[in-house]
């Protein structure tokens, strides 16, 4: 990989002295790139004039690898896409395969999928908020959010034995039914989580410095959000009311009563706050799902080797980062002919180069944190 810095343009200031642009390479190993992303920033003093995100440092070729595996073997690969929200990629892929192969899913499994994905949403948003706050220097918020996330991760560990790569949602259902008492623990968590959210809102979003740091930073207009394909909290922060759970509803989501929080200014502050309010809504959905759930099987028996008829299927779900789509093409063999992931983090990160210029270097990390990229999913 070429690491040379783009040529600097030497210009002259009003006194005729040579002035050189300062080029700063943020990343690929940097505390605020949330993984291994690189941003080449051209600075005029502290103000960024040109921002170029460079991705691909975590490219593992998951789409190519999928073509060499059977349909069921691809599920663990999807865990590695968005390692902060593995359940989503599991689910999006499984939905596509279920559509392709005409597999029906038991109702209890759909409820369990909703519960784990909403828990995952909280966990992912906690990580997003915590690291965005950590980027602006609020270390305490970081610990508070990670404390909450840890409880969810522990619950997932109890559920499927793994902390990050769950491989829980499988074609035809989920891998295990819940352990005894697990749902009560989740309900207790949701009850306690609301108070924590209120506290976090006061601690960080009510703080005068946080407001000064985030308000008016990286403003994304609603038109740009739609045209640039932004989705999830990034689009909703700009006031675009676009949530697949409501607007292209799937699974058992129509049975729940919840709101879609939207921001109005489209700045980093609104994007962060939308995430916080989504956690409240997720708690509501989890509670309704647990109360509506009935006993029953959690998976449909499947043959060892899935051989869908030639065809293609696209399935998208609302992940914590936006609309996560999986496009699977079958040619009748046991392996996918083509598997493509429409990654929300990838599309949202593309916005960085239009959001960051004009702001100061210190705002770069605030904007990036508010876009919440996870490089496993950006690079795939």
């Amino acid at each position: 990989m070429t690491l040379e810095i783009e040529s600097k343009e030497a210009t002259h200031d009003t006194d005729g002295l040579p002035v050189e642009e300062l080029v700063v390479n943020i990343g690929p190993s940097h505390p605020s790139t949330h993984g291994v992303g690189r941003v080449v920033v051209h600075l005029d003093g502290e103000v960024m004039t040109h921002v170029e995100p460079i991705v691909g440092y975590l490219h593992r070729g998951i789409e190519k690898m999928s073509e060499n595996r059977t349909y069921l073997q691809v599920v663990p690969l999807t865990d590695r896409l968005d390692y902060v929200g593995s359940m989503y990629a599991n689910w999006a892929y499984c939905r596509a395969v279920e559509r392709l192969a005409g597999i029906s899913v038991p109702e209890r499994a759909e409820y369990l999928r909703v519960i784990v994905c909403e828990l995952q949403r909280i966990a992912s948003h906690m990580m997003a908020l915590g690291s965005a706050a950590g980027d602006t220097g609020a270390a305490t918020m970081f610990i508070y959010t990670f404390d909450e996330r840890e409880r969810i991760i522990e619950a997932f560990e109890e559920l499927c034995g793994s902390r990050l790569t769950y491989n829980y949602v499988r074609p035809g259902g989920v891998s295990f039914d819940v352990p005894e008492g697990w749902l009560d623990n989740v309900l207790a968590f949701c009850a306690a989580h609301r108070d924590k959210l209120t506290e976090m809102d006061k601690l960080f979003f009510g703080n005068v410095i946080a407001k000064g740091r985030l308000k008016g930073i990286g403003v994304l207009s609603a038109e740009d959000a739609v045209a640039w394909g932004a989705s999830g909290p990034v689009a909703r922060g700009s006031g675009v009311n676009w949530d697949l759970r409501k607007h292209d509803t799937y699974s058992v989501y129509p049975r729940f009563d919840f709101d879609v929080p939207t921001g109005s200014n489209g700045d980093a502050y609104d994007r962060g706050r939308v995430r916080l309010f989504e956690c409240y809504e997720s708690c509501r959905i989890i509670e309704q799902a647990i109360s509506q759930m009935t006993e029953g099987p959690v998976k449909t028996p499947l043959p060892r080797l899935l051989r869908p008829a030639p065809g293609e299927a696209y399935s998208h779900i609302e992940s914590a980062r936006g609309s996560l789509g999986v496009y699977v093409v079958s040619d009748g063999t046991p392996r996918p002919y083509r598997m493509h992931v429409r990654s929300p983090a990838f599309c949202n990160l593309a916005l960085l180069k239009i959001l960051a210029p004009g702001h100061m270097l210190a705002d770069l990390v605030a904007v990036m944190g508010s876009l919440d990229p996870v490089f496993g999913e950006v690079d795939r």
């Binding site: 505390p31 960080f204 410095i209 740091r213 990390v365």
Partner: protein, 317 residues
């Protein structure tokens, strides 16, 4: 004893004091941060984890002292000491007992305000000599910040000096009266905020801003040289707390003997804890906001305070 020997003795004493203060300071910072984060903090090494910093010190001393290949070697190696020495020497003018300071000069307040500012040269040198964009930006930020915050900080202390009619530390302490607490309250707040910025601590830790600049001006330092930067930071915190306790709280509310000494320690500790509390609660400000705060908020407040104190002084005294 010759004056050189005296100087060497007090220099050693101040160095030792800072080393101990840094040891306790780092431990305390971790404990304070831990409590704010709802965790416990260090617990394993020694009682209450008190020896944790000592263990870290051993680690830091044993670590390789890396000099980057592209660095400007001599300024790079020298910079930590240029940062540390002025801060250490500023401790010499603090009146630890009533009417006694290790280095009791008639311009003690001026000495305390002026000498630690020299460390800005070290910060700039460290940032520049590292030949690293992060370090350079950090060094330049540090210089801009420290030079800007000199002004409100000095103006706020000037109010106390005006009331005392002296710029000697013992003179200020002798003249201290309890009603100063009320009159100098705004000046104290300005002093407190400006001191945090002066020692480059959160929420004003822009020169080292780990989010965007990794570690700013000391990004390329390792081992003992890095530890010296940290010691300078904690030394700065301790010095600012001790000085604030003397000027604004009359050492121990003007009392002598054991109660005064205890109160002195209490006030100094309270100020140090408050600085840590602020650091762990607030996000970091942006460079332009930092400058706005210095020039458009703190400096005018300090000037108005100076005016008010000037009127009061002519009327009360």
């Amino acid at each position: 004893m010759s004056s050189f020997a005296m100087g060497a003795f007090w220099g050693l004493a101040a160095g030792l004091l800072i080393a101990i203060a840094a040891l306790i300071g780092v431990w305390m910072e971790r404990k304070v941060a831990g409590r704010i984060h709802m965790r416990i903090g260090p617990l394993e090494a020694g009682p209450f984890g008190l020896l944790q910093t000592l263990a870290d010190t051993v680690k830091l001393v044993l670590k390789e002292d890396i000099t980057p290949a592209a660095a400007d070697v001599r300024p790079f190696r020298l910079a930590p000491f240029v940062v540390f020495v002025p801060i250490a020497s500023s401790l010499a003018v603090i009146p630890y007992a009533v009417g006694w300071a290790p280095f009791d000069i008639s311009a003690g307040v001026l000495f305390f305000m002026a000498v630690p500012s020299l460390s800005v040269i070290g910060i700039l040198a460290a940032g520049w000599a590292s030949r690293n964009t992060f370090a350079t930006i950090g060094g330049i930020r540090g210089a801009a910040q420290m030079v800007s915050y000199e002004l409100p900080r000095t103006l706020s202390v000037l109010a106390a000096c005006m009331l005392a009619g002296s710029i000697s530390m013992t003179g200020v302490l002798d003249a201290w009266r309890p009603w100063w607490l009320i009159v100098l309250a705004p000046a104290f707040i300005v002093y407190f905020i400006a001191s945090i910025a002066e020692v480059n601590r959160g929420p004003f830790d822009l020169p080292e801003a780990e989010a965007e600049l990794v570690a700013g001006y000391f990004a390329d330092y390792s081992g003992i040289r890095w530890a010296i930067f940290m010691m300078a930071e904690y030394g700065g915190v301790v010095a600012a707390s001790l000085f604030g306790a003397v000027v604004f709280f009359g050492r121990g509310l003007g009392l002598g003997g054991v109660p005064g000494a205890l109160l002195f320690v209490f006030f100094a500790f309270a100020l140090t804890t408050a600085m840590m509390w602020v650091k762990w609660t607030f996000p970091r400000v942006r460079p332009d906001q930092l400058m706005t705060l210095a020039w458009k908020v703190l400096t005018p407040i300090a000037l108005v305070e100076l005016l008010v104190v000037g009127v009061i002084a002519s009327w009360m005294l």
